[in-house]
């Protein structure tokens, strides 16, 4: 070939320079926003919903922002490094989207006083760290109504990840929703001690179905519970994302969370210099919680009831945790006419009446 070795070398050098230039040139003026994800984005689940939010924000704000994500970042020492790395390389607003990123986020915040951080599902804020999460329990309550109406065995199955307040709150809200239309309801819970393990989620779903549950829902990340319900001929209510294509017959609806508006508002606030660290807890009213389209098998009166309750939650006339609520021992934990405060909700550590079994330590 006519190309000499020197030529190849010089082409290489030129390419390197061009690459270097293009890297530095793209950074000007835009607000650079980083996202740290716990798992690969995939097609459904926690991270997928956050990424939909990121894309929606990009669409809304156009070339005012530039976003990047780092996926599959384990909690612990690795997370510290990734968050730090983003802050160091010019990302001014960083969303850390898993509970276990809380301490790493706070740590990195101390070293970069000019950066803004938003941590999802945490409870600690700092000068430049805000938190945000969704009132998942509102969606749970609505899906509980659907489950309570659709069950024939009066036994509902719940595949749960870890016994933390967020998950327990969801179980209780689901149970209360179901009991509001069907007082005989029992909810069986199986803990799989993992956020994401399709094999275990399937095995737990199977066990629940074998023990008489005919509607399965889950607080885990994969589509396995829906798939298993479809295979075994029972109903499923999905979580995080619409999973209807994984169980066209089984999938009744799904409680999903939507972040596009929140991400857009937050980025806009940083652009306008009006951003403040806040603890944002948004629900149906703010458009953060939505139900996936109902399966046609759900009767029209149930759909109407859910819609009515949804409106009630928006206008404040309905609260999922509205007294009187009894715990498992029959003791009244919320008196008639009262609702639980946000603080009580955040620290929830007991099952309401209707849930079977005990919360593992």
């Amino acid at each position: 070939m006519a190309i000499g070795r020197k030529n190849v070398l010089s082409v290489f050098v030129v390419l390197l320079c061009v690459a270097g230039l293009s890297l530095t040139a793209s950074a000007a003026d835009k607000l650079k926003i980083g996202f740290v994800y716990i798992s690969p984005i995939g097609d459904a689940g926690w991270t997928y919903q956050h990424d939909l939010g990121r894309l929606a924000m990009e669409k809304n704000l156009g070339d005012k922002v530039e976003t990047k994500y780092i996926e599959n970042v384990p909690e612990g020492p690795e997370a510290e490094r990734v968050i730090r790395d983003l802050a160091k390389s010019g990302y001014d607003l960083i969303f850390t989207t898993s509970f276990g990123y809380m301490n790493p986020t706070l740590k990195v915040d101390k070293m970069f006083p000019k950066k803004r951080f938003e941590h999802s599902t945490g409870y600690k804020t700092a000068k430049n760290v805000g938190t945000y999460m969704c009132r998942f329990y509102e969606g749970r309550y609505l899906t509980g109504i659907v489950a309570g109406k659709m069950t024939e065995s009066n036994t509902l199955g719940y595949v749960a990840a870890f016994p933390i307040p967020e998950v327990i709150r969801g179980i209780n809200a689901f149970t209360l929703g179901a009991k509001s239309v069907n007082p005989d309801i029992k909810v069986k819970v199986i803990w799989v001690n993992s956020w994401f393990d399709p094999g275990k989620e399937r095995e737990a779903s199977e066990a629940l179905i074998a023990q008489g549950a005919d509607v399965i829902t889950h607080h885990t990340d994969s589509t396995a519970p829906t798939l298993t319900a479809e295979e075994k001929g029972v109903y499923a209510i999905a979580y995080h994302s619409d999973m209807s294509k994984y169980g066209p017959k089984a999938h009744l609806t799904a409680a999903t969370h939507v972040y596009g508006d929140f991400y857009t508002r937050t980025a806009q606030a940083v652009l306008d210099n009006t951003w403040k660290p806040e603890q944002v807890w948004s629900g149906i009213k703010e458009g953060s919680i939505e139900l996936a389209p109902m399966n046609p098998v759900v009767p029209a009166d149930v759909v109407a009831l859910v819609e009515k309750t949804r409106k009630g939650i928006i206008d404040g006339s309905v609260h999922p945790f509205q007294g009187p609520i009894k715990d498992q021992s029959g003791k009244i934990v919320v008196e008639a006419g009262k609702t639980l405060s946000d603080k009580e909700l955040l620290g929830m550590g007991y099952y309401v009446e209707g849930v079977l079994g005990k919360i593992p330590k």
């Binding site: 290489f12 990047k68 994500y69 612990g76 510290e80 730090r84 790395d85 983003l86 620290g347």
Partner: protein, 374 residues
């Protein structure tokens, strides 16, 4: 012995070629995803080695890789290879964390050596279980370390969800399996203001030099190497094979245990956290350290650049992901490719060195894999 240096130099060059070949294949994969491989790699290595800060990150990331790698070098010289690094790191971290929880008010000058020593003891204990099983019951250390890894991880989950959990996690009801913020007296001091380079880096280097001296400048090292080279002859020379095999695995465990302790006390959160598996805590350093040692030709000092290379890749991978927005799967695949190429380069290395027997190819005549029945 005169040619050791040139040998290990060639021994480093050939695997390095393997790394470059793997990177070339990685470039094709990058292209297939529509990313520019040249700028991608430039970003990657620029982030890892291009600045003091980047290098500081790389050095910190390399600590566990180097320590595990050095441990592998020692064990391999005694002809015991094992894959127990993950479990040993976990056990070292657990014991050192317990020490910090029990003695929070001991001054730093004393507490830091104490937690490091506890880490070494924890790891050595876990390693010597495999060692004793091998030496006295003839149990294959490869098979036993597979089990011991899983047992250690479950033990960690049990403790971090149980007695060692941060009391705050219980009162708040959040229940994250992590310890409380450990005493500041045990924090590994930061060496460069505003960066993450901490005392763990010189400690790891010190251990690497120590291992080199141990292996080639002490009677103990001589015994370890001779047991690895020829157990029969060693036995006739009055060297206890079981004792030295146990010692080699204990050393190897101690290195991994120190690595585990440094991960806890050098971390930014200064606490021990589990995500239920081992990788969340160790970052697979217990496995990757083996590759570090192989790339270094099983030499403790060559393990230093080797660990830096892998540490740099891990640091640079995030930069690459950020710059080119390639999925994390590609980085894992690239890492795997490098490992396969490094392992396969062993053959070409040995051919070029014309050495009859390098520790890597455990020759059958020495019968060292647990079927030594006389």
């Amino acid at each position: 012995m005169k040619t050791t240096k040139t040998k290990s130099f060639i021994g480093f060059l050939i695997p390095l070629g393997a790394v470059l070949l793997a990177l070339a294949i990685g470039a094709v994969m990058l292209l297939s995803l529509g990313a520019n491989p040249i700028s991608g790699y430039a970003t990657m290595f620029g982030a890892a080695f291009g600045s003091v800060e980047g290098f500081s990150e790389t050095a910190v990331k390399s600590i566990p890789l180097l320590l595990v790698g050095v441990g592998i070098c020692i064990a391999f010289r005694a002809n015991v290879i094992n894959i127990g690094g993950e479990g040993q790191m976990v056990m070292g971290a657990l014991l050192s964390t317990s020490v910090a929880l029990i003695f929070p008010s001991v001054p730093s000058l004393l507490l830091i050596p104490m937690v490091l020593l506890a880490g070494a003891i924890g790891g050595a204990f876990w390693g010597s279980i495999a060692g004793a099983l091998k030496a006295y019951f003839n149990v294959s250390e490869i098979l036993s370390t597979i089990m011991l890894n899983i047992v250690a991880v479950q033990f960690m989950n049990f403790l971090l969800r149980g007695v060692m959990i941060d009391p705050g996690e219980l009162t708040r009801g959040t229940g994250i399996p992590q310890t409380m913020r450990l005493t500041e007296n045990a924090d590994l001091p930061i060496l460069l203001e505003g960066m993450r380079m901490h005392l763990g880096v010189p400690i790891a280097l010190f251990v690497a030099f120590g291992a080199y001296i141990l292996l080639w400048r002490t009677a103990m090292g001589f015994r370890l190497r001779s047991v690895g080279y020829n157990p029969h002859a060693s036995r006739y020379a009055g060297i206890s094979v079981p004792r030295n095999v146990t010692a080699a695995l204990a050393f190897r465990g101690a290195m991994a245990g120190i690595a585990g302790a440094i991960l806890v006390f050098g971390s930014e959160s200064h606490r021990m956290v589990t995500d239920g598996g081992s990788t969340g805590f160790t970052g697979s350093a217990g496995f990757n350290g083996i590759v570090v040692a192989l790339l270094a030709g099983l030499h403790p000092l060559w393990s230093i650049p080797s660990a830096l290379l892998f540490g740099g890749m891990l640091v640079g991978a995030n930069a690459l992901q950020r710059a080119a927005q390639v999925p994390s799967a590609l980085i894992i695949a690239l890492n795997g490719l490098i490992v396969v190429f490094v392992v396969s380069s062993e053959y070409f290395k040995q051919r070029s060195l014309q050495v009859g027997r390098v520790a890597l190819s455990d020759d059958e005549s020495t019968e060292t894999q647990g079927k030594n029945n006389e």
